[in-house]
């Protein structure tokens, strides 16, 4: 989701980061020696801007992890410093300079979005500040050769194959109809899904419509004529809701699936609970819903206590990003360089998934999580490998 929307700031970001990279000094944060009693870790993202709704939950997750750690009265306490970048690359670049030179943070959770991550990645690299993003999903971020950059969420390129493979395993379809509107994110996801279906020898038919169209009757006609076993839509929930309603009204009964752009309760409102029932949604994010069990349930309850709301998108990932650093501090590492070294070998059972990093900073486990609309509510079924559809 964030990848498509935030790609736009890249151009500006690239320009600004060049300038700042030139001014940035090389000093690593944190003091050496054994008498350190506290370290500062930053959290950066859009905390008050238009996309704050997808950054507040990971912030809450990180705050919760740090609170839990500090409550244990450790030798070295952690102070979480929040930086509100508004999701803008130019703000991120000036904030990170302040964070490194004045606040002397030793590690950074974030930035939340891909554009700002791209903008400050080089500076973090030169200042030897490790970063773990809970939510930046642009695939290109891992290709910069940065050794201090990490993320705990699967990237956009993992999502399409994730959806297709899950449907192949769950429904063994012979024919799939892949739809999208004409937005960049939507077409990209639909292309990836169609490609993966074809690799699994599923016949694929396609159609596409304008993002602002309201009458999808020609699309419904095509789908009805093709009589597919599954339908996958690449796009956001507003269009997905309208489409799903018209498909069901047109008598199309095949399983309907979509990606993270449609993972919102508003999909159900838009389509109507009856039409939305059974719809399958996939996301690189792991959002516990009230009915989860086990460790995720513990997370759900603790988060609700700490933040006073139900966990939302990227909450578990924010918690896991913070935990990765907490493990490093627990192991006695208090400088950026040492923490980064520790991250190369860190391995633990996170709230969202098992956390372990590849050399390029990508998560070893790039699980896609499956959700389904059950009784009019979006419900988490689990990671794609183990999720079982209901009904």
């Amino acid at each position: 989701m964030s990848g498509a929307r935030l790609g736009r700031v890249l151009a500006l970001a690239a320009a600004t980061s060049l300038v700042l990279a030139a001014c940035a000094g090389g000093g690593g944060g944190g003091e050496a020696g054994g008498d350190v009693t506290s370290v500062k870790i930053g959290f950066m993202g859009d905390l008050t801007g238009e996309n704050a709704a997808i950054v507040i939950p990971p912030r809450n997750g990180a705050v919760m992890a740090v609170e839990e750690y500090n409550a244990k009265n450790p030798k070295v306490k952690i102070e979480l410093v929040q930086y509100d970048s508004q999701g803008k690359a130019d703000q991120a670049t000036s904030l990170i300079t302040k964070a490194i030179t004045q606040d002397k943070i030793v590690a950074l959770i974030g930035p939340a979005f891909s554009g700002e991550s791209k903008a400050i990645g080089q500076q973090l690299e030169e200042s030897k500040i490790p970063s773990v993003s809970p939510s930046a999903t642009n695939p290109g971020l891992a290709e910069n050769g940065w050794t201090y950059w990490h993320r705990v969420v699967a990237n956009d390129a993992d999502q399409g194959p994730g959806i297709a493979d899950f449907l192949v395993q769950a429904k063994s379809p012979k024919k799939a109809f892949v739809l999208s509107d004409d937005q960049e994110y939507s077409v990209g996801l639909a292309d990836a899904v169609a490609e993966s279906f074809e690799k699994s020898n599923v016949t694929v038919e396609r159609d596409k419509f304008a993002k602002d169209a309201s009458d999808y009757s020609s699309t419904v006609t095509k789908v009805a004529a093709a009589n597919p076993d599954v339908i996958v839509f690449g796009g956001y929930y507003a269009q997905a809701g309208r489409l799903l309603k018209q498909l069901r009204d047109g008598g199309v009964k095949a399983t309907f699936a979509s990606g993270d752009g449609s993972l919102d309760q508003q999909l159900v409102t838009g389509a109507g609970p009856e039409a939305a029932e059974g719809a399958v949604l996939a996301c690189p994010c792991n959002i516990p819903t009230p009915d989860v069990t086990g460790a995720l349930k513990t997370f759900f309850d603790n988060y609700k206590k700490s933040a006073n709301v139900d966990p939302a998108i990227y909450a578990t990932e924010g918690y896991d990003a913070a935990t990765a650093f907490i493990k490093a501090v627990e192991a006695g590492h208090t400088t950026g360089e040492k923490i980064n070294e520790f991250l190369k070998s860190v391995s633990f059972e996170g709230a969202s998934k098992p956390i372990k990093f590849k050399a390029n900073g990508e998560p070893e486990n790039n699980a896609i999580f499956i959700y389904q609309v059950v009784d009019g509510k979006v419900k988490l079924l689990g990671a794609a490998e183990e999720a079982k559809l209901e009904g």
Binding site: D207, F209, A210, S217, S218, T221, Q266, G270
Partner: protein
Amino acid sequence: MLDDFLNQFLPSTVGGLVFGSIYALVALGYTMVYGVLRLINFAHSEIFMIGTFTSLVVITAIAPASPLTGIALFGVMLLIIVASAAISGGAAMLLELVAYRPLRRKGATRLTALISAIGASLFLQELFALVIIPWLTGKPGRNQQSAARIVDRDTVFTIGNAAVRTDHIIVVVAAVIMMIALDRLVNKTKIGRGIRATAQDPEAAVLMGVSIDNIVRVTFLLGGAMAGVAGALYLMEFENTVFNVGFVLGIKAFTAAVLGGIGNLRGALLGGIVLGLIENWGAIFLGSEWKDVIAFTVLVVVLMFRPTGILGESLQKARA
């Protein structure tokens, strides 16, 4: 390809007729105002949007637990149509009073009025997004708003492999009734004669005792009411609306008006239906993302050979 065509032709035709009817109703407002004032009323798409929201509010207030049938359905449909027509018609009159009349009084050029129209269009969209929709629904104004279902999607009969549903019939029948009523009103009544006289020659009409201000007001009222009916039918059919729902639809309806012959009421009807059908037929071959390309290509080709649109004849000369 031929297989696709045979499989999809009849269902596409049904879909095209239904959406074409909505285009046609909205196109009437463009065509009437153009006929009388030579003004392209770009804010007309927002009058349509106001119609969808009026119906949304009415349906939400009634809150039917399940889709309606029989008399109850007829009553609720009539209620949303009348309410939307009244509110949209009133809004259109108000729009004329605020955005166009002062300019007309000062003898401003048509270009000035056009700019005023574009401004009014944006103003109304933002007014709804920022103030009115949050106030009406209590939800963020830029979100899509959904209404409950009032008409079941039962198949009434089938033609070949095309299912014709209750909601399809309601849209087409209601649209046709409204258009016949409007046609009779313009052609058979005194006020209709006034409209035609003003369209033909405003100065001569004044000399013959026609009150231009009244005629313009009635023209906006009628055009707005038609857009309101279109809004009610749209909301019944799609059950969703949003503050900028009229934007693309308005452009299409304007295209339909030009295609049929702007200023010509029957042309608007024909243009709407033809546009709806061509969009859906074209989509069979090239995919739904080509709808707009196909529609506008047809428009350009038609205008190359018939610059005044399919029916050509304009409101001032319409006799029958």
